[in-house]
């Protein structure tokens, strides 16, 4: 009787302490699979190829992380609102899903250092003489009404006191107007600008410069308490930049040019 109670106690103790010692990083390595939440309707970060397999910057990033851990990657498709619930309910281990590192979200989940930053680019009609973003001064510019870049552009036009700002209903209208010469220049995210220039639907436009707006920094997320995993991923992101893989993925999915700097000037981390 005594032994069975002791055995029972030992079993109970192992059951209780077992999960507490092995942290998430150990769990991932021992399970042999890294489950990443990726948003697959957000090209070029995540989409599906002609065979309906996941592809994109985030998908490659997840595969790289899995390779670094020595496990296989499993891409779990989520939508933007489902990213954090999927993580919290244990359906995924990490989210590689272009998540902006807001303080509000950091109350729920743990963020790594930024692994990508969405910058804004100035795109101009080829017939317009422009070399830097400051040449926007005095030009006829436009953007999709109500967006972050439209508010910034309109503010600049007001500040300069010359030139004209025209709001449009959607992004396609802006680029059509730009291609037809109704607009001299516009500002949009680099990814949208690259995609529109590459698509060939809007002839006669070129990317001039990056706009000096604060980039939208995005980070990998894991559960808040999984500090060991977050620590590992911070180093992983550092290595991705150091080894040139970051620039390689940028060239593969976004386009030519320098990828956004992940260093925020004037502050640690």
């Amino acid at each position: 009787m005594k032994t069975s109670v002791l055995t029972l106690a030992a079993v109970a103790a192992t059951a209780l302490t077992g999960p507490a010692f092995a942290d998430k990083l150990d769990d991932i390595i021992s399970s042999g699979t890294l489950r990443c939440a990726v948003v697959l309707d957000f090209p070029p970060m995540g989409s599906r190829d002609a065979d309906n397999n996941p592809q994109g910057f985030d998908v490659d990033y997840c595969n790289d992380l899995a390779a670094a851990l020595g496990v296989t990657a499993e891409v779990v498709e989520t939508t933007f609102p489902e990213r954090i619930p999927a993580l919290v309910s244990g359906q995924v281990d990490v989210a590689v899903a272009s998540t902006s590192d807001t303080l509000e979200r950091a109350k729920t989940v743990g963020f790594t250092i930024p692994y990508y930053a969405f910058e804004n680019a100035v795109t101009a009609n080829e017939g317009v003489e422009m070399s830097t973003w400051e040449d926007l001064k005095g030009k006829t510019v436009g953007a999709t009404a109500g967006t972050y870049e439209a508010i910034w552009l309109e503010g600049k036009v007001k500040e300069w006191g010359e030139g004209e700002f025209r709001p449009y209903q959607n992004q396609a209208d802006v680029f059509l107007a730009l291609s037809q010469g109704q607009l001299d220049a516009t500002v949009s995210t680099v990814e949208v600008a690259e995609a529109n220039v590459d698509s060939g639907n809007f002839p006669g436009i070129k990317i001039v410069d990056k706009a000096p707006m604060v980039p939208d920094y995005v980070a990998l997320i894991a559960l808040r308490e999984d500090q060991g995993l977050i620590n590992y991923m911070n180093l992983f992101i550092n290595q991705q930049v150091r080894t040139g893989r970051y620039a390689e993925l940028y060239a593969k999915w976004v386009g030519e040019g320098e990828p956004a700097s992940l260093v925020i000037p004037g502050v640690y981390r």
Partner: protein, 217 residues
């Protein structure tokens, strides 16, 4: 309208999704029916008072939306018990229990529809309980229960669309993936609807055929 970016490859992808829908449905309906018969017979046999615990559990499966059952079961089995089951396994387990809860009611209703006097007569002829169940109750109850059971099977087939929440890519999820990529929702939803129809129509017709055949003898 016929100018579409849909390729043969995508059709194959949809067919794979349809295959998954059929697989999950067949598993759930088969095991759900077996469990449903067991639960239904037990409930009838031991009376409403003693069966209260079973009734209560089955009522839980019938009253909580399937979507919530799937998410909670996946989170519980995966995060709390750390069983490491695949989404497909969880989907099959939950859908089976869900089916069995409905099936138990159908079975109970079927058994209750057999006149008690007839069963007493069979026992008076010296039949054992098992013989009575097999030779008297089962043939009669099956006839009564068949239409509801066919309805249940078709319902489960359509409800299986919800297993996408546990990462099972069945027919509707495959369609949504294609819609996201090709931006042709109307065409794709029509194709998806046609697939569902192709799966359920034969089942419904087979049910009708059995009903007709059995009603003659």
């Amino acid at each position: 309208m016929f100018d579409t970016a849909l390729t043969a490859n995508d059709f194959l992808f949809l067919a794979k999704g349809a295959g998954m829908t059929i697989f999950v449905t067949v598993i759930a309906v088969f095991f759900g029916t077996v469990l449903g018969i067991i639960f239904g017979v037990i409930r009838y046999q031991i009376g409403p008072v003693w069966a209260a615990p079973i009734t209560f559990v089955l009522d839980i499966f019938r009253s909580i939306p399937l979507l919530i059952q799937l998410v909670l079961a996946y989170a519980f089995l995966g995060t709390v018990l750390r069983l490491g089951l695949s989404g497909l396994t969880v989907a099959c387990i939950v859908l089976t229990l869900y089916t069995s809860a409905y099936c138990a009611e159908i079975v109970r209703g079927g058994i209750e529809a057999v006149p008690l006097t007839l069963r007493r007569a069979s026992r008076s002829l010296g039949m054992t309980w098992g013989q009575d169940m097999r030779n008297i109750v089962m043939p009669l109850a099956t006839r009564v229960a068949l239409p509801s059971w066919i309805g249940l099977a078709l319902g489960v087939m359509k409800d299986s669309a919800l297993v996408y929440v546990v990462q099972v890519t069945e027919l509707l999820k495959s369609t949504q993936i294609l819609i996201t990529r090709l931006q042709e929702p109307l065409l794709l939803l029509m194709i998806c609807g046609a697939f569902y129809f192709l799966i359920s129509f034969p089942v419904a017709r087979f049910g009708g055929y059995l009903e007709k055949r059995w009603s003659n003898d």
